[in-house]
Amino acid sequence: MHIPDAFIPLWQSAIYWIVALIFIALALRWAKNELSEDKIPLIAVLAAGIFAIQAFNLPVAMGTSGHLVGGALAAIVLGSPYAAVFILTLVLIIQGIIFGDGGITTMGVNILNMGVIGGFVGYYGYTGLKSAGANIYLSAGIAAWCACFVASLAAAVEMAVAGTFPLVPGLIAMGTYHAAIGIIEGIITGAIIYFLVTSRPDLLAEEVQQPSAGGVSA
């Protein structure tokens, strides 16, 4: 879902950058107020792990591949959509500047899609499903699927505004491919949360610490 430079006119990229910078500022404020030094191991591992998994494209049929984005994962385990903005911004800066994955001018829109939309849809999808009584891993998996799917539709709309993709075919194709890629997002997000709950539940946000079948105490 990394949009390259060529896909969006500069003036539109600048607008997305401004919006992204507002969310980055909010994420930094969240980090300053909410992050304590005991979260350092989790964030360092998440940043490295999300980068590694993003390099691993898995086939999803239809001549297409996809990988975990990780916004929902970061938001759920750290208990805030701003955690996704914080971590995905770091990942996208390195991917764009060093590896040419995602553009420089389009880094703002990529932060917006994967960090902001991924984080907000993932976090609120998770808390909503969990409060409706769903199991935490299932809630996380479905929320992560939604985060991937909604972000891809947002990207399709941005591509239509840019004049790069026609709106309806763009929405159909982006939606179809990311409905499949979202399954990867959902399964890996659920699995990683399971491993984190098993290995270091104390590092996780309260929303993920509730007793489940495994009996993890808050």
Binding site: S65, G100, G170
Partner: protein, 112 residues
């Protein structure tokens, strides 16, 4: 429950294993955005295979050019698989240090 040091080492090792496997096992098919670009350009059907020589970025206006030092997670064509492993390994270590450092920096400015 494992301690912080073990957690970080285990996390980093798992990330490096995933990154290393990605070099050899990752799918070469275009991602969702690139497949969509090929589809709207008429180079591929919605559910059909992607052409080997398709250029998803051909649809872009190309208003800005940037040469990344390690393009596409590699050290260039002559670097081969070893170059790709090196690039992914470097990226993982950089991300770990950046995640660690950025969190330490903002957490140390905690107002409470």
């Amino acid at each position: 429950m494992i301690d912080n040091k073990t957690f970080m080492i285990a996390g980093l090792v798992i990330a490096i294993i995933i990154g290393g496997l990605a070099v050899f096992l990752a799918s070469g098919d275009p991602d969702g955005l690139e497949s969509t670009a090929l589809f709207v350009q008429g180079d591929k059907t919605l559910t059909g295979p992607s052409p080997e020589d398709g250029d998803p970025e051909a649809i872009g206006a190309g208003t800005f050019e940037y040469e990344a030092p390690l393009p596409d997670y590699s050290t260039g064509e002559e670097g081969g698989k070893a170059g790709e492993i090196l690039a992914v390994f470097a990226g993982i270590v950089i991300m770990f240090i950046l995640g660690f450092g950025a969190t330490k920096l903002v957490a140390s400015k905690k107002t409470t």
